[in-house]
């Protein structure tokens, strides 16, 4: 079984609503990539299925997520808070995606990249499913890549 776009949407919505008290709805059509300062979370899956789950969000989305999860004011949020929360969101989405691919497979630890002028590529992989979600006007992209090497 391979994860579908509907799987990405339902998994992400469930995690955001349960853990972060945030509602998210799919953006219509193909959304442009997140612009400006953004955070990219990546977690690899290895074993019987090989690939990765990539999460890309605006800084504003992640800041709101930190405020909701940690009950902080936006001005209190540090860069390490942003990285920690996006890392955990990536971990949760990756873990739930892993349950949909061939077993046994194993999760790596998540990594997070922060910046406004960088590109992100997973060499030797193809996009299996992707979605862009609107969370209170901020964009969250989720994609699953399968290794083809």
């Amino acid at each position: 079984m391979h994860p579908s776009q509907d799987d990405l949407i339902s998994i992400t919505q469930n995690i955001l609503s349960t853990m972060i008290s945030m509602e998210a709805s799919p953006m219509g059509g193909k959304a442009d990539p997140v612009a400006g300062k953004r955070l990219t979370g990546c977690i690899s899956i290895s074993g019987e299925w090989k690939g990765a789950v990539v999460i890309q969000s605006s800084e504003a989305f992640t800041r709101q997520a930190v405020c909701n999860m940690l009950q902080m004011k936006p001005t209190e949020v540090s860069d390490s808070d942003l990285e920690d929360v996006l890392s955990e969101i990536t971990n949760m989405i990756g873990g739930n995606i892993k349950s949909l691919v061939k077993s046994p497979s194993f999760l790596s630890l998540p990594s997070v990249t922060v910046g406004s002028d960088f590109s992100f590529q997973l060499k030797g992989s193809r996009v299996l499913a992707e979605t862009s979600l609107d969370c209170n006007g901020e964009q969250l992209d989720v994609l699953v890549c399968e290794s083809v090497t």
Partner: protein, 124 residues
Amino acid sequence: MRALLIDDSRAIRRIIGDIMKSLGFEITEAIHGLDGLAKLEEFGIPDIVLVDWNMPEMNGLDFIKAVRADPKYVDLPLMMVTTETEMERLAMAFVAGVNEYVMKPFDKAMLVEKLEILGIGAAS
């Protein structure tokens, strides 16, 4: 009552910590399995340990195995709180000695339900 929380995510430690505090627990935190073993030695045996699976240094499964290998921790209640959701992984955790299992994402009701199963906390 005291709970040891082991998770490399500060956010998850905060969320679980807030829930456990609301149930009357004092909290000790550790950031990975090795740190968890050190906190057990430093602070003594808690009423329950809640431990993540995927962590640097020492993961949750190896922490469970290390704890169960020590006779003084044979009766210590251990609960995993993790994104590992496949039956094979659950079976590995239970074979290693975990008592209960909470899958992320979770909410307070889910955690309280598992504590009730273990007969621990305000619900007991």
